[in-house]
């Protein structure tokens, strides 16, 4: 079955769109799909997007407009879409206890599906939803449904608490594990500051997304790892963040 975009991308917040795709296998939380935008050679490379949700055969992703590819993708017409996936290694879904999920911007997206899976396993979900400002917050009601407790932080205080999601997450503490996806600086702060294990979903630049180009390597205490096949979810405390946060 070929992947099909079921409807036009839906605007869900400023610069953020929801895409619904059928025909892809069921993913695990934290995996991504790799999309070729257009049939031509520009844009050339596939663009990776984390799975935001999966339900009854439909894979959902949230895209934030970043440049050429995402600008074209947001005006896609329904129909066949050249998507490969799901790919990569996702989150380990904790089966008991409590988890803290901390997202930044479009990085909240993969944590939604993770929260849903955690809830299904009976694990407690505390969610820190970080955004630049209120206009960038998307699908908040949906996030609340899969969280036992959800705090919004914005950089400018236009919604929720004014401040950084990382600080809020570290202040909350007490969880058995922290899952995070967002800007490298945020994931680094959480990895450095947390006493609990941290799983971070990397969103660095990918060449192929399937492990053949070595363009996406990240230095860890265990050597270089390819974020696309060894990740995108990696143990935050094993990542050498200095190289990513220059």
């Amino acid at each position: 079955m070929k992947p099909v975009l079921v409807e036009k991308p839906i605007e869900i917040a400023r610069d953020h769109y929801l895409l619904r795709i059928t025909g892809l296998p069921e993913p695990s939380a934290g995996q991504f799909v790799n999309i070729k935008i257009g049939k031509g050679t520009d844009p050339l490379l596939r663009r990776p997007f984390s799975v935001f949700n999966y339900s009854e055969g439909t894979t959902e992703i949230v895209i934030k407009i970043a440049g050429k590819g995402t600008s074209l993708l947001k005006v896609s017409e329904p129909g066949e879409i050249d998507a490969i996936g799901p790919l990569g290694m996702g989150f380990s879904v904790l089966k008991t206890g409590s988890a803290l999920l901390a997202g930044g911007g479009v990085g909240n997206a993969p944590l939604y599906y993770l929260a849903k899976k955690l809830k299904e396993s009976g694990t407690g979900v505390k969610f820190v939803y970080g955004a630049r400002s209120s206009e960038y917050i998307y699908l908040l009601e949906e996030f609340k449904k899969v969280s036992d407790d959800l705090t919004v932080t914005t950089d400018d205080g236009s919604s929720g608490k004014k401040g950084l999601a990382a600080e809020e997450a570290l202040a909350a503490g007490g969880a058995d594990i922290i899952y995070t996806c967002g800007p490298a600086g945020m994931m680094r702060a959480i990895s450095d500051g947390s006493s609990a294990p941290v799983e971070a979903s990397m969103e660095n630049y990918f060449g192929c997304g399937i492990g053949i180009c070595s363009g996406c390597t990240i230095r860890t205490v265990g050597g270089l790892k390819r974020a696309c096949v060894d990740g995108p979810v990696m143990e935050g405390k094993k990542i050498i963040w200095e190289e990513l946060c220059r």
């Binding site: 070729k36 050339l44 630049y205 060449g207 192929c208 180009c213 070595s214 363009g215 096949v229």
Partner: protein
Amino acid sequence: MDISVKIGKLTLKNPVTVASGTAGYGEELSAYIDISRLGAVFTKGLSIKPREGNRGNRIIETPSGVLNSIGLENVGLDEFLKFKLPFLLKSGATVIPNIAGHSEEENEELCDVLSHTAGIDAVELNVSCPNVKQGGMAFGTDITIFTRLLEKARKKTGGCLIVKLSPNVTDITEFAAAAELCGADAVSAVNTFLGMKIDIKTRRPHFENKVAGLSGPAIKPLAVRAVYQIYEKVNIPVIGIGGISGTEDALEFIMAGASAVSIGTMNMVDPKISVDIIDGIREYMDSKKIGGLAEIKGIAHIRSGE
């Protein structure tokens, strides 16, 4: 229909191969295609010791192309022989290791060991990687250094020696001719073109190494030109590489004079593209009633009426 190709003593099942550095060691591509169907798998450029490659940004898209500064990250000779090669051979693939030593001695040793390893009938000597600070650059762009390396490599290489040429020279045919004189069995043309990207936000080069290698459809006309010119100058087979993104592109290279072709960057976009091109070439030959590749190889050089 016979679409096999002879490169020195080696016979490839068909003319479609996957290029070094864009196919890993075959493992990942195997999830998408049967790698035994390929003419050959050129593996990632090898050094004796594992190499980490360059740090910082390593790859970025450009208009219809890609700039890379991977810096020859590879697993090293031991791991290649112990784990990567057995997998490739078990899969039934024709393996051609790409050799990327950083000194004459390292290249000699790699040629020696690899060409005398069971299951390997050919090696490809990469004299042109533009993004490694030491060595690399000089071998492929200075005719004296190039010739000296090839003479030494030829002596150590048991089987077929393929030389992968750098396009970053004034006259690539001079290097192809020197390779032929030194006893190379074939040349691969071409490796990536030196390019650069400046980040206007940081006002600095995007890559730590400053320059990077350009590949993909953007370089195809440059590569076709190189193959066409080389074909006029040498008698050894040419493996055409550069921006091939479909059957028509592959045919273009063959008509320019390539005996075989290699798919690079486009594997990254469509991991099935190489086998699609094998099928595409067969369909083309079928529809045009062409019995063998020799009928179209280099045909662009023949003036009408000849």
